[in-house]
Amino acid sequence: MNDAILITIDGKPVPAHSGDTVFTAAKRAGLAIPGLCSSEHLAPFGSCRLCVCEVEGQKGTPASCTTPVQAGMVVHTHTDRLVQLRRNVTELLISEQPDGGVLPAALQELARSVGLDRVRYRQPAVRERIQDSSNPFFTFDNARCVSCARCVRACDEIQGTFALTMAGRGFGSRPMAGTSCYGDPATGFAASNCVSCGACVKECPTGALVEKTVQLQGLPRETVRTTCAYCGVGCTFDAGLRDGRVVTMVPADDGPSNHGHACMKGRFGWTYIYAEDRLTSPMLRSGDTWQAISWEAALDRLAFEFTRIKTEFGPDALAAISSSRGTNEENYLFGKFIRCVMGTNHIDNCARVCHSATVTGMMETLGASAATNAILDLDQAKLIMVVGANPTESHPVVGARIKQAHRRGVPLIVIDPRKTELARLANLHLPLKPGTNVALLNGLGHVMMKEGLLDRPFIDARTDGLDDWLKAVEPCTPEWTEHVTGVPADLIRQAARLYATSGASLCVHGLGMTEHRWGSHGVMALVDLALATGNLGKPGTGINPLRGQNNVQGASDVGCLPTYFTGYQALDDPALGSLHQAVTGRPLPTKRGMKTPDMWDAALAGRLKGLWIIGYDVAQTDPNLRKVREALRHIDFLVVQDLFMSETAKLAHLVLPGASFLEKDGTFTNLERRIQRIRKAVDPPHGIQPDWQVVCEVSTRMGYPMSYRHPSEIMDEIARLTPMFAGVSYDRLESPDGLQWPVPEAGHGGTALMHRDRFPKGKAHFVGVDYLPPGESPTEEYPFTLITGRILQHYNCGAQTRRTDILDVVDVDVLEMHPEDAARMQVAGGDLIRLVSPRATVLLPVMISERVQPGQLFTSFHFPASDVNSLLSSSSDDQSRCPEYKVSIVRVEPVDWEELDADDERELEAVRVRLIT
């Protein structure tokens, strides 16, 4: 790809490499050739014919965007002849624009550049007037379109959703969504399988596809580079501003993890920052009534109550739960507060309920818990194995990249009970019974062992403990595994061979691995496979947890864990202790703190009196909600800091408003360990202070002054205390690429690929684990297994996405049920049913879906009204206490309308109406 080639364009020497076209080489050299249909994100197409060129020694005027460079070629792009041709092509393009409309800016600019002042065709036929505003976020206006098909190609080549096509042919050919040329052209997008990723809108050169926010408020006048605050992919965006308001969020082409792509939530789901019910001032509750109070009063009160509790009951009566949605700096400061001011390690974050099992599993085997490879390595992989993750919905930009790889022919294995989008595409889909990961992974290991597929040199050089693993997988024959997991033995054999022999097998995994009774074991069993086949420490391989929240990686990295200090440093390390003392002036508490579920037990037991929760809606998203709410009610003084009056906030004594990611500076660390900047684009409303400033204020009031002028100073402090961040500083983070930790010293370029030559412990460690059944298994009374997880459109507790137009797309949690079960139970799509677990009862509408297997049900947990998590038990992974969200036993009952009280009925009717209309 990089063999340097020199060509001459318009008399200038232009360096190029094989793979370049004349167009791309010219562009890189800053020589602009006009063109509408080409894009750096799309394969050469050659439809607009504006980029014509002349090549010396060749006949004709080929399109430069489809002409590969050849050493020594001499190209002209602006001869009189070419300009005339271009003018005539432009004239054709403009001739089809309907009269009376405003010419798209791109065409105006073209006309100007080629000197076209009028169209000579008389009464030419023009484009059909078709508008499609059915997508909540953008519109299509055929009148402004030039049929370049960039949108269609974006949907195919970038997003892999194929929601668009060109319709018809000849003059009338135009893009359309779904099948709308046979129905109502105005509803194409809404009726199609479009996932509103916005790639088509971004590629559109004319504004025929345009954001509704731009239509309403105009094009942005300036942009601020920042990072998406939803999921762990960490897409880079340019926030477009106009008149002090955000009007667009456009994914940046030089974004290191997204390369110009995005998903619905990041691209369009940011408007919650302007939601009417955003918290604007601190609120104090007495009984059932809320009272807005001043910031001064609120901070004083908080400091007072916490001081009181500490004095009365000691440091261990206080705890904090930090937000994985917040910045590294905020998280670090919150940890510093709990350790230096409160004097305890009772701090946790939502990593607990998410990838804590990954942390324990990978720590024990590899000695480091983060993704071993970079997202970009998906392009190097020769096989991709997705275990218990649904990236096309949960990490859509990574999902799209996996789809792209698969389209290039890279084989895909998916291990998931559900037929997710990737499972449908996969070469092999292993639909295991929920909770049987260890059995299946050991079964794969058994085949590898028996068939001599192990990478002995790697094992010898880089690992120890092999025998432990061999012993564990020995009894797991394919037939035994089939019996336990339900996956046909033959599929198991095929998958084992594919994974072991591809040459570079890359694993991504998600909550289907971790949120189990034996989640840590599952992760170990997975790491064992990678170790056994040498799929670690090389490009295109690795074990890559798809960390969930935008900054869940960072929150844990900077020490919001009860068991580790920043950088996963042991709390009882004396050297660290003295450094901590030197930097912070306070001792580092060495006793391990409570994990979130322990906090609930402590609260119920009356041991925990004060709790400060930032940006985490435990009262909706933790399992066994009745217990959690009960525990929260037991707390003497509960402080919740959030953007909205969340379910948890409703139980608080004091609620503090928070500033959103668009309103503050800081850094997030994405799922590939990449530390990236967020930048303040707009002021927070109503003088709201970012979370970190609130922490400083309270700390200061409690006698430990914290004063930082800017989050960069906090990062400097983190770097001093944390070897793996030693080389991180804000000036280095100005680079669009950010930095991937470990960054052990100032000049270090960061680490894209971990464990290249050695593991943190020297050698990696095989840990043999035996299969153990999940916490609950179906019984006669509760015959169904309920899986919970996410859908593309909404985000976790939904506080943010439910306050955007995403609600037009999905406005309710639904229960997915296999058609066979539905037929047996005589329920139809849209029916409301009652879901009963040993803990609680909830009502949900049913969707008939072949994504789930018979006997299994799936639902999301994004709407407080559905109260799904009250069904779940407190069962959790032994080692990490990661909750068993993925396996609960339930039964399904028809809803008997007579039984309902009036309130229920009204609410249900509302749900039903929303559902059916």
Binding site: S47, Q123, A125, M166, R169, F171, S173
Partner: protein
């Protein structure tokens, strides 16, 4: 009593001319045996009935059912060898037409079929390509690209799969030789494809046949079955599967990249090149797309040697030209002659002048995208290079003769409307330009156009030629502009005053 064996062509055109009616009428008779053969291509004589005689086949022409007694009596038949239209030709690819039964494996071999494939099987793949190089065969589908070069590219490309695709879309109005081959000598096409498969290492073949040719599709399908049963369908020791795929009424799907899209089941939209299909074609694999006639020409080359083929024709165009004469000529039909005869010679010697009373006005060669020739230009030799020099195309060898009643403005409008209808819609100059050109011609017809519109038409034509992505848009202006050049008054006289 032995029955008298009569030969009647089973070709679609022969049937349309009436052979089918003859068969219907005579089918039940016990004194005749009807044998259905391929057609000799002298369609002006169809329906034609032949029987054996000591001087070779005798033919009865333009036969009606009532002529049977005469035929049985042997009255009035003329020796086929005495039909000048046929005897003046140099038939190689079409040598056995009118003689053999299309689906008879034995007859095919008896007439020398399979000799090419056997020869190829005795050669290494590079040697086959060298033989083609020596033959100097150029593709017959329109672009006239040296066949060996394409095969060489596909042969050297590394890939797990390669394909051979016969372009049987034969979209040009006025052409029918591919149809005749598929209906009349399908094994020759299959043999050519097998030789190609061996040369490049392909494992599967497709024949993309236009939907308007149901009989050709059925015959080729039957031939594939028969060839399979005869054990011919293998290449490099592995089975070689050939599938017949039907088009769906799109002219651009004859363009090789659009054809591949269509073969993959998608919209038949042209792909930008490079990569060329020989590098990356069907499903991204190296693929040879060649015309049916091209494939059918290959077996003889392997059987008789490349130099044999190179010994015929002109400097740049070796071998025989297969021309299809249509329109207002007296003797329309298929003509195979060495390259080099002039257009006038072809029209005079084979066409025998115009149909009753008509006077020649213009000749279009090479289908709807081909240039128009006037009487004064007919001395151009039939050869790729002479045509290229005249900015004309031989295309697929279709020659349509228009008489003096033809309205050249209407003809131009008709041709441009065809392009506008058939444009795949991908590139701007063709998608919009062809419609604009048609609109201008409409305006002239309505008497509303000015001289400025005519010069705009010329400039538009120039832009389409220079900037269109494929031959449809790039060639579309030629017939119109050549009509304008040769018959300016027919345009100017209709301008607004």
């Amino acid at each position: 009593m032995s029955r008298i064996r009569l030969y009647l062509s089973n070709d679609t055109s022969s049937c349309a001319a009436g052979t089918e009616r003859l068969v219907e009428a005579w089918r039940k008779r016990s004194d005749v045996e009807l044998v259905r053969t391929s057609s000799r291509g002298a369609f002006f004589l169809e329906p034609m009935v032949e029987r054996e005689s000591p001087e070779g086949r005798l033919a009865w022409c333009r036969v009606t059912a009532d002529d049977l007694p005469k035929i049985l009596a042997g009255e009035g038949g003329i020796p086929v060898s005495a039909i000048p239209f046929l005897s003046m030709q140099t038939r190689h690819t079409f040598a056995t037409f009118g003689v053999t039964e299309p689906l008879s494996v034995e007859a095919y071999q008896a007439q020398g079929g399979l000799a090419g494939l056997r020869a190829a099987q005795a050669m290494s793949p590079p040697a086959i390509i060298l033989e083609l190089k020596a033959s100097r065969l150029r593709g017959r589908g329109g672009a006239a690209f040296p066949v060996w070069k394409k095969w060489d590219v596909a042969a050297t490309e590394e890939a797990d799969r390669k394909y051979v695709v016969a372009n049987a879309d034969e979209g040009d109005a006025g052409t029918y030789c591919d149809r005749m081959i598929m209906e009349g000598d399908p094994f020759r096409l299959i043999e050519g494809m097998l030789i190609c498969a061996r040369a490049i290492g392909a494992g599967a073949g497709y024949i993309y046949c236009r939907q308007e040719y149901p009989a050709a599709r059925a015959t080729v399908q039957a031939a594939i079955r028969a060839a399979g049963e005869a054990g011919w369908l293998e290449s490099g020791g592995k089975p070689f599967v050939i599938e017949v795929v039907s088009g769906a009424g799109s002219y651009v799907c004859g363009e090789e990249t659009a054809l591949l899209e269509s073969l993959e089941g998608r919209r038949g939209v042209v792909r930008a090149r490079p990569p060329h299909p020989a590098q990356s074609g069907l499903y991204g694999k190296p693929t040879i797309v060649s015309n049916v006639l091209t494939f059918a020409t290959v077996p003889n080359i392997l059987a008789r040697g490349g130099s044999w083929h190179a010994s015929m024709g002109t400097e740049g165009s070796r071998g025989t030209a297969v021309l299809q004469l249509g329109g207002r000529v007296r003797q329309p039909g298929l003509i195979e002659v060495p390259f080099g005869l002039t257009l006038r010679e072809v029209l005079d010697q084979f066409g025998q002048g115009m149909a009753d009373g008509a006077r020649l006005k213009a000749v279009q060669v090479g289908g709807p995208l081909g240039s128009l020739f006037t009487d004064a230009q007919l001395d151009i030799p039939i050869c790729f290079d002479a045509f290229a020099k005249a900015e004309a195309i031989l295309g697929h060898g279709g020659i349509v003769v228009f008489d003096d009643e033809t309205d050249m403005l209407e003809l131009s409008r008709h041709l441009m409307a065809f392009v506008a209808d058939e444009s795949c819609g991908k590139c701007v100059p063709c998608r919009i330009g062809s419609l604009r050109a048609r609109e201008i011609l409409d305006t002239i017809q309505r008497g509303r156009a000015t001289a400025a519109d005519l010069s705009l038409l010329t400039e538009l034509g120039d832009t389409m030629k220079a900037t269109s992505l494929c031959g449809l848009g790039a060639r579309a202006p030629y017939p119109v502009l050549s009509a304008l050049e040769h018959f300016p008054m027919e345009f100017h006289s209709r301008l607004q005053r």
